[in-house]
Amino acid sequence: MRKRIWQMPLLALAAAAAAWGGTFGTAVAIGGHAADLALDEGRGVVYVANFTASRVDVMSTADYSIRTSYNVAPQPNAVAVSPDGQFLVVTHYGSWQPPNTNKSALTVINLNDGTRQTFALGFPPLGAAFGADGLALIVTQHDLLLFDPVSGATQALSSAAELAAKALPVPAGNTPALIVQASIAASGDGMWIYGLCDFGQGVVRYRYDVRRRAVSAYAFMASPPMGPRVISPSRDGSYYAAGWALFTSDGDLISQFHSNVSGLLNVGTHAIDQDSGTIYAQVPEPGATEPLLMVADADNLNVRETLRLPENFAGKSVLNAAADTMYGVSDSGILVLPVGNLRRAHRIAAASEDLIFRGNFCERRTMTQDLTILDPGGGNTDFTLSVSGPGVTVSPVSGVTPATVKVRVDPTALGGQTGTAVGSITIKSAMAVNVPDPVRILINGRNPDQRGTTINVPGKLVDLLADPVRDRFYVLRQDRHQVLVFDGSSYQQIATLRTSNTPMQMAITFDRKYLLIGHDNSQLLYMYDLDTLERMPPILAPFGHYPRSVAASGAAILVSSRKADGSAVIERVDLLTRRATTLSSLGVFENKAHLGTVLTASPNGASILAVMPDGNIMLYSANSDTFVASRKDSAKLSGAYAASSYDLFLVDNKLLNASLVPVRTLESASGTSSGFVFVDDAAIRSTSPGSAAPGVLQRVHLASGAGVRPTRMVEAPLVYVACNNQPDGFVRTLAVMYNRNSLVSLTTSGITVLPWTYDAATAPPRIERVVNAADQTNPVAPGGLISVYGSNFSPVNMASREMPLPTALGESCLTVNGVAVPMLFVSANQINAQLPFFVDGNAAMVLRTPGGVSDNYNITILPAAPSVFRTGSAGPETGIATVLRAKNGELVTGSNPIHPDDLITIFATGLGKTDPEIEAGVPAPSAPLAAALIQPRVTLGGVNLDVVYAGLAPGQVGVYQINALVPAAVPEGMEIPLTVTQGGSSTTLAVRVVKP
């Protein structure tokens, strides 16, 4: 027997080693079914209750070998080590069907001297855990006992109706978790003990306060069952995971794992590392075949990473004190995860979530972008790529990290498509232990008549809201549990707000101070102060209610909550108590809502519209403080919804009056209803004929319902996509900025910005001057940054942070000799861009905008035209030449003069072609450096400087740097000429030189 125990873990280790190639952790087989485990770090062992072999196996934490086993009474189902490490308490599950009798017992093993005592228990035990007071809480099917391992005394804490557990014998295939159906665990500080077990048709969660010796219990129904049947408290017991959800100490549901959980009691686990805010969890979906561990945020369960496991967990897990190793009950016995060494494990990821290819009407040539494949831990990990999408190829398709692959898109493969096609790159690896996210490929091929500028925002975007008093708008990113805050003028993201699990919809309180966020997988309604962007205490919905949709009128804040049983109700929020209360009725109507109900308030706070996919519509009046109208004129509704301040409402494509009577039906030929906004007494709507086609934006004549000047958008607005067995639902994808400068729409690639006058007739552009962007003088060179001045360039101001730079920005497209020019910025009168590297000599520049095509503007592109940027700033001073002293990394100025022996760096543009060649719009590489083909000469006061490097600045687009050493012989003075000469061009600026 002893020999077999020794052999089994070794075999298991060998098997695990063979399986190391895509899985994380080591499985240790114990030759039976593990029911529970307890970590004894002082002795460097883990005690494993081997339920079917009637022993407690002792596994070394050093080498995962089982060096000894305690033969104990039959069916050990729980083990717990006393806080002082002296005692191991083992409970024995002896619930047998008649004619057998109860054989339940409790064994105390003195770990110091090896003595043991076994006590009979009146009822089958479900679990055991020690509190900080040195007493063990024993939970049986009928009572809770406090057991003193020193004296052997037992004290009844409370009794209970029969807790559910299966009597033995059970059919084959049952595991301890399916038999006992219970879990109990103490918080890391031993002050709280939490338990979870079945009770009749429901579930009981209970909490034992060790300090007060008080028990409180919560019984509830759960569907699917609360599996995995594991309870995992945080270190201080302030929250815990139970089954598929995360609860506060008081039992409120903070967050639950993904919507689609299997509820299997015997598959999965979790453990919380409170210090790092991390939860390690396996909570499988129905039918899941691959064991996967989620590494998630321990509050909103946002999954940071998914790891492949060698086998399924099957019960309790614990982390060691350093939180770098996790031990859990598994199919084979024990699964050990070195979570602290995760950085050293092979993993694979792409550096970008999305790659966006913007073809445009200027050119239809193959587009190429680099994609970096890396191991987040810095290792060398193999990978293989597969692509989907029209005209998308990748090269190479396999390799070892770190690697940069070329992704190419042939726009001709798009055919006549003028919207955005979506493809993907899937990453696989034989070595990596993680499951990498695919890279989304977005390919747009617009025509000149299509309006709007897309800004790439990765992820699943589900709601859009413009701030009524701040120049901002908010986008709800559901897959990362985030609100993305964008500036309403620059359209740049300025903040990210964390939400709870699966955010669904946003609302702003009527006083304009707070942002409210409803969730599908949390009992909490999140709240943010919009002035400080700080999170406020959340609002709690009744237990089992999930506040999904929220709207704020002048009188009340209402939420539509999904109930755990699948129904839905309307609730009212009390901001003082931070509670939501279910309304007893909705005026004269029953409080029965559809699961997919969404709410929206009129801007003047007079009403809240509730729309439901089953065709029901209701109206809450702030003046009456109740629901005043309810109608059902359609069998189903879907798409846009909006409420105006003028007693008009919109659902789908129906305009409703103040009594919710349909008064107009909007045309549906332009596509599926997506977005709708009332703007004062007018309106704008967006529709989508298909996800890869351009969307249509049109103003709506409210009196007649007729569309006015329908205009094609650059890509399709988002539409409701059936999910969770809900074929119909609502989306909010269109918003108008509070200053009426522009509109924003959620679209395929993220967001699309359109000027308020998107449908106005525009004049053709006119180019009046082209200068280099550094010192605004005329000479320009290949690869140099330029500024183009003129008129009617773009209806919006737009800066791009995308890399490579887009060749169409703000609906404008610039070409030089027919070659598209990457652009950084566009406005009505100025464009900043980078000249292509392979165009020089006399060239014609043309700008294409929705207003037409400019006349040719002829320029001469010199082989080299160095010019130093005047974009430096120091204190309040601006416009300083970008010459830096390496000694202090600061700009050369009168107070920071050049000294002999200084190494100076001159940032300039216009140094021309490089070796190796770089594509325009692409950041310069750091290895190898892209050196200027024509070497510049630098003089200071007529004295030659030693040029150490001259070429593109790594990571920059169109920016060159010259590193030069200053000799001792330079003259000193307040205005010494620093001259850069390259080819036939030169530029000079005055700098101060001081000698010691």
């Binding site: 430096g872 309040p876 001073e877 050369v892 100025t893 009168g894 107070s895 920071n896 307040m974």
Partner: protein, 208 residues
């Protein structure tokens, strides 16, 4: 100037009868110079700072003596104007020879004396250079070194406190042209005037 210096050296060569060596410490008080620029006016100069030094003297005649002196002055650079101030660490060194004139027959133990001489002053800016310096429309406080000729004038009293030990109290005015490299006027600005560094000191000397 050169003629005066020759006379001082000659006086030193003649003195051989009695020597005196000592050290003194005190503080330097600088009267700043005016800066004018299109932006307005400011004052450039040095902050008050500690001073110490040593000297070797000789009494050639009953009423005339001379001494070589070295002095170290903590002289942080300063620029003030428009309600603001900029400063920059700095030091200066003075090396000079002074003639000492005192009464032929002093009464009691106190020997008053007047001193006049010349030498040079080394100004050094030692602060951290930064791209932006407040008041840079007037001048730049610079990390560099500059040597200027110097006139020294002053007086004091030596008090015999026992044997050949003297307690000295004295004051000097070190007059130099303004060091326009260390405190460089900004383009368009102008610094005018001489720099007066008043240095009162107390010291001990020993007759040899």
């Amino acid at each position: 100037m050169m003629r005066l210096f020759a006379a001082i050296l000659l006086a030193g060569a003649c003195a051989a009868a009695e020597y005196e060596v000592g050290g003194a410490a005190g503080a330097g008080f600088v009267k700043g110079a005016g800066v004018t620029s299109p932006a307005g006016t400011a004052t450039a100069g040095f902050k008050t700072g500690g001073a110490f030094g040593g000297f070797l003297g000789h009494n050639a005649h009953s009423w005339l003596g001379g001494e070589f002196r070295y002095g170290y002055l903590q002289s942080d650079l300063k620029l003030s104007g428009s309600g603001g101030e900029a400063s920059f660490s700095g030091v200066s060194h003075v090396v000079h020879y002074d003639l000492l004139i005192h009464p032929k027959k002093p009464r009691g133990n106190a020997i008053p004396f007047a001193a006049v001489g010349g030498g040079m002053k080394v100004f050094r800016g030692t602060g951290r250079e930064t791209a932006y310096q407040p008041l840079n429309r007037y001048a730049f406080l610079t990390k560099t070194q500059e040597v200027k000729p110097m006139l020294s004038a002053g007086g004091g009293v030596k008090i015999r406190i026992g044997g050949n030990v003297y307690l000295r109290t004295e004051i000097r005015d070190y007059v130099t042209p303004f060091p326009k490299k260390v405190i460089a006027p900004a383009p368009g600005a102008k610094i005018s005037g001489w720099l007066h560094d008043f240095v009162p000191m107390v010291g001990i000397s020993f007759g040899l």
